[in-house]
């Protein structure tokens, strides 16, 4: 204890002052002493030792019983000192891990980044927010300059955090490696299913929805691998309809096939895609109903698509007291003409 303020003399004079005056100033200084001690990694048993020594100097006739009992207290503090040191080490380790995860998270963001395309006649809004630093949700837009089609992928790894994020990166790279002319939703899911089945732990499941919009014939074709059903919004009636598409989650069996559906998109209609982070929002212990989600979306659906998804996100963020339990992804695509 080289520090002048930390030494025995200082403690002794503080103690003496307190015993004489019993005033708050001395107690405040004791608090400062204790903080300074912690900064210098001084264990509680050392403080007690300093206390005993100071007391002995102030009261040379200290009775044997008091002296012994203070030594007893010192003995009883040893484990607290150890626990405190362990806590310090673990805290350092935690901040190292934290910064490692931040680096990984920003790497993931770069890897999974997708450009929201500007497509004539379509208004697109997308938001994806991880519950923790790393996301197990993923969405991606694929455009084709030749025929102006738009591919939309939205996927969710069951589970979250780092394992989910790692699995997601794999999905992204598999999709990138598929041939350019491979734009067929059911074929894409079938290919991805084989990749996931071969490479991902059987306990991990990935749900995915893939849709392809062809402006030439105003048709939206899609297939789903067990993904949270999205909604089709009828602009003229101001009503929602669930987009039905059933299929096995990716990776369950290598033989899975995915049925492809098609539908015409009318002017002012919207396609709404989401992950279960949206539908499994909780208020207290209660999951919200899908109807409640639709009410919220309805409230904002007239806004430009990007503004709408952001408002919906903000609504649920507040509802959940700013603490999402799962990654949240929402996409709205409106046909404007």
């Amino acid at each position: 204890m080289e520090n002048t303020k930390l030494d025995l003399d200082n403690y002794r004079s503080l103690l003496k002052e307190y015993l004489l005056t019993k005033n708050e100033t001395a107690l405040y200084q004791a608090e400062q002493f204790s903080k300074l001690s912690m900064q210098h990694n001084i264990s509680p048993e050392e403080i007690i030792h300093v206390h005993i020594e100071a007391l002995k100097e102030l009261y040379p006739d200290l009775t044997q019983e008091v002296n012994d009992s203070l030594n007893f207290l010192l003995e009883a503090m040893i484990s607290y000192g150890l626990a405190y040191q362990e806590f310090q080490t673990l805290r350092e380790k935690q901040s190292e891990l934290q910064s490692e995860i931040s680096v990984a998270a920003s790497m993931q963001q770069t890897l999974l980044s997708t450009v929201k395309p500007e497509i004539k006649g379509l208004d697109i809004g997308a938001i994806s927010v991880p519950a923790n630093q790393m996301s197990g949700d993923y969405y991606h837009f694929v455009t084709d300059k030749e025929d102006d089609t738009l591919g939309i992928a939205i996927a969710d790894v069951i589970g979250k955090g780092i394992p989910a994020a790692l699995a997601m990166s794999m999905i992204k790279y598999s999709m990138d490696s598929f041939p350019e002319n491979q734009r067929n939703p059911s074929a894409i899911l079938e290919n991805l299913n084989r990749v996931v089945e071969r490479n991902v732990d059987p306990s991990m499941f990935i749900t995915m929805f893939y849709g392809l919009y062809n402006p030439g014939n105003e048709t939206f074709s899609y297939a789903s691998a067990g993904h949270e059903p999205g909604f089709y919004y009828h602009g003229d009636q101001d009503e929602f309809e669930e987009i039905e598409a059933r299929g096995l989650v990716l990776g369950a069996t290598d033989q899975a096939t995915y049925r492809q559906f098609e539908r015409k998109i009318k002017k002012n209609d919207c396609i709404i895609l989401l992950t279960d982070g949206v539908t499994e929002c909780r208020i207290g212990d209660r999951f919200i109903e899908r109807d409640e989600i639709l009410q919220v979306i309805k409230k904002y659906i007239q806004l430009p698509a990007q503004e709408a998804v952001e408002q919906v996100y903000k609504h649920f963020e507040r509802l959940q007291e700013f603490q999402f339990r799962d990654d949240f992804t929402l996409i709205i695509i409106r046909k404007e003409v």
């Binding site: 040893i78 626990a83 362990e86």
Partner: protein, 133 residues
């Protein structure tokens, strides 16, 4: 080497015997009360490990007094199952004591020098020393 005083660990009560002998040695060499208490706690941990995981073993003490150091070495020896993954038991937070900050990392913190040799199926020898300042 001097005659080494040892305490056999067979039952929980023997931990107290080991602490007592260790504290006497520590006092003899000139350790202050705080270090005496730390040495006693380290002995407790080592003796309890023997009692819990090896069943029987012994704790011996050696007074170190050479040009460099003056101090006490605790030697804990058992012929128990041994430790398969030493790095793991030396990791903070691993302790079977339920995160009470003790365990072998605790012993290492309480003492100035710590060494461990273990063979699976043969046993474990831990040497922990503390120097008088």
């Amino acid at each position: 080497m001097d005659f080494k005083p040892c305490v056999n660990i067979r039952k929980e009560w023997d931990i107290v015997g080991a602490r007592q002998l260790g504290r006497e040695k520590a006092k003899e060499i000139g350790f202050g009360t705080v270090d005496q208490a730390r040495i006693a706690t380290a002995i407790s941990e080592l003796a309890r490990n023997i009692y819990l995981y090896a069943g029987t073993g012994k704790i011996c003490f050696e007074i170190v007094d050479d040009f460099e150091h003056k101090g006490l070495q605790i030697i804990a020896v058992d012929e128990g199952p041994g430790i398969r993954d030493i790095s793991q038991v030396m990791e903070d937070g691993y302790t079977t004591s339920g995160g009470l900050g003790a365990g072998l990392p605790g012993v290492k913190r309480l003492m100035d020098h710590f060494d461990i040799i273990s063979e699976v199926g043969e046993g474990t020898e831990i040497r922990a020393s503390k120097w008088v300042r």
